[in-house]
């Protein structure tokens, strides 16, 4: 273990790494363990206002951390545990009757319900099309942008605009674009009154295309960060060895950028699996993702117990998928 300390005004370390500070200094203690920064802690600057009020380091730390922890407990942890309890009960919030414990019945019913499996299938198809498209388009854009050219900053900023918009606005906007009677997409493609959003298959692709348009910039951004971190010397060495573009891409670019690509993949898969806003606004009935099914169960049917169980099933599925990705991510980092 190696210790080091830095200070805003004065700081010092003993040869064995233990920090020594003069009064009045405000050193930041950084503990390094296996190359990872673990903790940042400092003694109080005696001239600071907090010190003048007699606040200890611990009090200040708590003042910053406790509200966040309280917020997390009230709005995340408590509902999470509360809904887990509901998932084992027959309970409808609209009827104001006490919940009745039924064990795993809700889970058994849901897992044997063909409508739920249909929603899961729709969600899986949506995730594959949408995230696949985002990875291809986003990484492709990053490759194009990873070179110096005029107005590069402006072009990058403009490309990032879609992901800064509200999904509701994007959904409504694309719904207009897809309109069979006067939508510009049908006009541009010359496909007459093609119904993008009324047919289940067409609607799935239409919503996925919108999601690709909106979130490819996110993949592009992460990929660009990965690409710009690749040492130029590797490409120079490959050029000296007269390696082809494809060989350089396969052996240098892709392996070195893959950890960041996998992070993008994790984030986008998690988001796409929970897709609600775009399908809900653009075509609720045609693209009935599992999140929409959950919404219908919880807030239209008010079947609170069953909806809680479904929410937990979705959570477990998302956790499993994420874990698989994380495993690959760790492998990629080890390489």
């Amino acid at each position: 273990m190696r210790w080091s300390a830095t200070g805003t005004r004065r700081s010092a370390t003993t040869p064995d790494g233990v920090p020594t500070t003069d009064r009045g200094a405000s050193p930041v203690l950084i503990c390094r363990h296996q190359g990872v920064r673990l903790a940042v802690l400092a003694t109080l600057d005696s001239g600071s206002r907090a010190a003048a009020r007699g606040w200890s380091d611990l009090a200040i730390r708590n003042a910053f951390i406790l509200p966040t922890i309280a917020f997390l407990i009230v709005f995340n942890i408590f509902p999470l545990i509360y809904s887990l309890g509901f998932s084992f009960t027959e309970y409808r919030v609209s009827l104001q009757k006490p919940a009745e414990f039924i064990g795993l019945q809700n889970y058994a019913d849901l897992l044997s319900d063909p409508a739920i499996w249909r929603s899961f299938t729709t969600t899986a198809q949506y995730v594959i099309v949408s995230v696949g498209g985002q990875m291809i388009v986003g990484f492709g854009l990053a490759l194009l942008l990873n070179r110096p050219f005029k107005f590069k900053g402006l072009v990058t900023t403009l490309l990032m605009l879609p992901m800064m918009l509200s999904p509701a606005v994007v959904g409504l906007f694309w719904k207009l674009l897809y309109d069979p009677s006067w939508g510009p997409i049908n006009y541009a493609l010359g496909i007459g009154k093609f119904e993008w959003l009324s047919n289940r298959v067409n609607a799935l692709f239409a919503v996925a295309i919108t999601d690709i348009w909106m979130w490819s910039p996110f993949v592009m951004l992460l990929s660009l960060a990965g690409l710009s971190a690749i040492p130029k010397s590797l490409y120079e060495a490959a050029a000296i060895d007269r390696a082809s573009w494809w060989y350089t891409f396969r052996r240098i670019t892709l392996p070195l950028v893959s950890p960041l690509l996998l992070i993008a993949l994790i984030f986008r898969t998690m988001e796409a699996f929970k897709a609600f806003d775009l399908p809900f606004i653009m075509s609720t009935a045609s693209v009935e993702t599992i999140a929409i099914k959950l919404y219908q169960m919880a807030f239209q049917g008010w079947d609170t117990g069953r909806a809680s169980a479904l929410a937990y099933i979705v959570l477990i599925v998302v956790l499993c998928i994420t874990n698989i990705y994380v495993k690959y991510l760790n492998r990629a980092k080890e390489r």
Binding site: V93, S94, L95, A115, E195, R200
Partner: protein
């Protein structure tokens, strides 16, 4: 110091007293965002002028009307004093204790005698109690292209093909024949626009109307039985008839509701379109329908056994249990059921359920569709109003939509499967 405290307390007391009296002078009605809600706001301005009580009609889009209403009711909130709610909500809202029991009000004020019985039965009655006053009557009817129906060439061709005169369909066989006759994809013409959307109750309304018309039922509502009723031979035939009609709809007509049906009509795509009467003003208006002058309307025709029914639309107005202005709300309802107010309501464009106004000559001739509306209101039937109605709607959509729109499986299989779902949802053993 003591004087200061007394002064503060007196101030707070005065503030609370005055705020309570201000609250009592305001009433909030919650409804969906559509034209009748605007008409209602116009109507209640008269109440404000008469009594000094401000009545506000708050609205939200149809898509989240049910969610928003029940979110407020479940939280026992008092944001709204009254809600103009769907008939299917009666079970959940009454059993959940969200609505005030209006039985005494209805009988004491003679609403049970002055309003059309079918509207009271479906908008107000749940169990043996009344929970609302019928406010906006509505039913599912039909619009048709009079110019196509009256074209001499079309009439001659139709007679040659089917052996009888082309005209307003007198039964479902004629309706189906006409739909088939006008289905000409090469001319971009289709026979009919149906409800097929599955996000809530759209498709269910179209299907139930056909089932009722075939003499069938969605179950025994009083005893919560469905086996042998929902999958009866009549219902199987009715579902097959709806599937057949679907083959005469425009392409990809598998997620259509009132917007799409009116749009198909205004774009000159279909000969006939089913829709709620509340959406027909748009078809009668030349600004929104280029074929307004040649648009006719008719009530849902009888089925093969002569049974004739229409799916119920519309809503009743209920007092929220958590309202702090219940007394004022009662006074408002007393004003609303007055004959002159009901007449004004109809004049503004609202669909009154008052029998006297509905049957008056003036009302029947006020619009080209009022006669068909009055006919339809006498034959309305409705979906289940039990607390689990939404689950039943979604199950119906899941089971019947694939058969209707793609012909997947058979009508019997689809209804048998739905019987299984509904029995489970209703807590029946079989």
């Amino acid at each position: 110091m003591r004087t200061v405290h007394k002064g503060i307390l007196a101030g707070i007391g005065l503030m609370l007293a005055s705020s309570t009296s201000v609250l009592a002078q305001e009433l909030t009605i919650f409804w969906a965002e559509w034209d009748p809600a605007n008409y209602l706001q116009e109507l209640v301005n008269d109440y404000t002028a008469e009594t000094g009580v401000t009545v506000t009609v708050q609205t939200t889009p149809w898509s989240d009307f049910q969610t928003k209403t029940f979110a407020e009711l479940n939280a026992q909130g008092d944001a709204y004093d009254m809600v103009v709610g769907d008939s299917q909500w009666l079970g959940a809202a009454s059993e959940g204790g969200h609505y005030v029991d209006l039985t005494k009000f209805i009988t004491d004020n003679g609403v049970d005698k002055s309003f059309v019985p079918a509207t009271l039965q479906y908008y107000s009655l749940y169990g043996d109690k009344y929970w609302s006053v019928p406010l906006e009557g509505d039913a599912n009817g039909w619009a048709y292209r009079k110019d196509w129906f009256e074209d001499p060439t079309e009439m001659a061709n139709f007679k040659a093909k089917y052996g009888y005169d082309l005209g307003v369909p007198k039964n479902y066989k004629e309706l189906t024949d006409i739909a088939e006759f006008f289905t000409r994809p090469d001319e971009n013409k289709y026979g009919v626009a149906l409800y097929t959307q599955t996000s809530y109750d759209a498709m269910a309304m179209g299907v139930e109307q056909t089932i009722f018309t075939w003499g069938g039922d969605l179950g025994d509502y009083a005893n919560k039985k469905v086996t042998g009723i929902l999958n009866s031979p009549e219902n199987i035939e009715a579902l097959e008839a709806y599937r057949k009609l679907y083959t005469f709809t425009p392409p990809n007509w598998n997620q259509a509701f009132f917007v799409e049906n009116n749009q198909a009509f205004t774009e000159g795509l279909v000969a006939m379109a089913m829709n709620y009467f509340a959406f027909f003003p748009a078809l009668a208006n030349e600004a929104t329908n280029p074929h307004a002058k040649s648009t006719g309307y008719f009530a849902n025709p009888p089925g093969p056994t002569g049974a004739q029914h229409a799916a119920l639309g519309g809503q009743g107005i209920s007092i929220i249990s958590y309202s702090k202005n219940q007394e004022e709300a009662y006074k408002f309802l007393q004003w609303f059921i007055r004959d002159d107010v009901q007449q004004k309501w109809a004049d503004l464009g609202g669909y009154t359920c008052s029998a006297a106004v509905l049957n008056s000559e003036g009302f029947l001739k006020a619009t080209p569709y009022n006669q068909a509306f009055a006919d339809s209101m006498k034959i309305v039937k409705d979906f289940w109003a039990v607390p689990v109605f939404a689950d039943m709607l979604f199950q119906m959509n899941d089971r019947l939509h694939p058969y209707i729109t793609t012909g997947e499986g058979t009508a019997k299989d689809a209804l048998d499967a739905l019987v299984g779902d509904w029995n489970k949802t209703l807590g029946n053993d079989s």
